[in-house]
């Protein structure tokens, strides 16, 4: 049995299992920890698909940055409250599960029709895709900066916009005091006995 097959069959159940664990975990912190496991297995799939650069980026960005941000916000909001199981809309939950299964089955048949189970990845992916360059990172950067240079610059602008937007959204804005509030404060000061 070749190595990539073994790695796939070891990590695919872990990936699906951690995703389902996230789905059924009522505590938000535990759900986030299950999601970290899932992100690591996805990084390993990137590795066996011949994308070592994305493997590193997946671990640094998702497991490192995004999940820490999630955990930080969960801790900030407080973790003591668990979700209630009372349904606001009757029958919404079973319907959602049926719809999810429907999507899975539909995608399964689409993959069977479109790709088929006989298609395998080429053995010489590294040589062909990297075009004789040193490694995946160099080849990827050449594609990125030659063919996708404009989208790359647009994403940098997007990141700056997101950073500024978050600063505006998350800051506790100093509210302008209305004239009525000012008058009330003055009244209170005048009526209060001086200690």
């Amino acid at each position: 049995m070749p190595l990539d097959n073994v790695v796939f069959w070891v990590f695919a159940p872990i990936s699906i299992g951690s995703a389902i664990g996230m789905l059924f975990q009522r505590n938000a912190v535990h759900a986030a920890l299950f999601l970290i496991v899932n992100f690591f297995t996805i990084a390993i799939f990137f590795l066996i698909l011949g994308a070592p650069f994305l493997f590193a980026v997946q671990i640094i960005v998702y497991a490192g940055a995004i999940l820490v941000l999630f955990l930080f916000v969960i801790m900030l909001l407080g973790v003591d409250r668990e979700e209630t199981l009372i349904e606001q809309l009757r029958g919404q939950r079973p319907l959602a599960i049926v719809l999810g299964l429907g999507i899975a089955v539909e995608l399964f048949f689409a993959i069977r029709a479109g790709v088929g189970f006989a298609t395998r990845g080429p053995e010489n992916f590294d040589e062909v895709a990297n075009r004789g360059l040193v490694g995946n990172a160099e080849a990827l950067s050449r594609v990125l900066f030659r063919n996708y240079f404009f989208p790359f610059e647009v994403t940098s602008i997007l990141l700056i916009i997101a950073a500024i937007a978050v600063m505006v959204l998350a800051s506790r804005r100093a509210r302008a005091i209305t004239r009525a509030e000012q008058a009330a404060a003055v009244d209170r000061r005048e009526t209060e006995p001086v200690a």
Partner: protein
């Protein structure tokens, strides 16, 4: 590479479906957000698998862009959830029903 590409695609489809169910079933806004992240990751797996199948690196570049956009989206979304929490003292989406008809 002996594993058929379709296996990776089916795994990606399964993760995407689980993420969809999570978005529809869960009530906590943070967990809904995590499910959206799961869906994005599932699509990334499919992109990298197609990149392998066609012997080109464009799929990997696209997955890279989707990661960058996901990072920006998470940051803004969490700030919005934080703001909603400050106003309503709850991150449960059922409590934010001001626009309900």
């Amino acid at each position: 590479m002996r594993t058929p590409i379709a296996y990776f695609l089916i795994l990606s489809a399964a993760l995407f479906a689980i993420g969809t169910v999570g978005v529809l079933v869960r009530r906590n806004a943070l967990v809904i957000f995590m499910s959206v992240e799961l869906q994005l990751n599932a699509v990334n797996v499919a992109l990298v698998a197609f990149s392998r199948m066609h012997n080109e690196l464009d799929g990997q570049v696209l997955a890279f862009f989707s990661m960058v956009v996901a990072a920006a989206e998470v940051v803004v979304g969490l700030a919005i959830i934080l703001n909603v929490y400050r106003r309503r003292h709850s991150a449960i989406v059922d409590d934010v029903s001001l626009l309900r008809g």
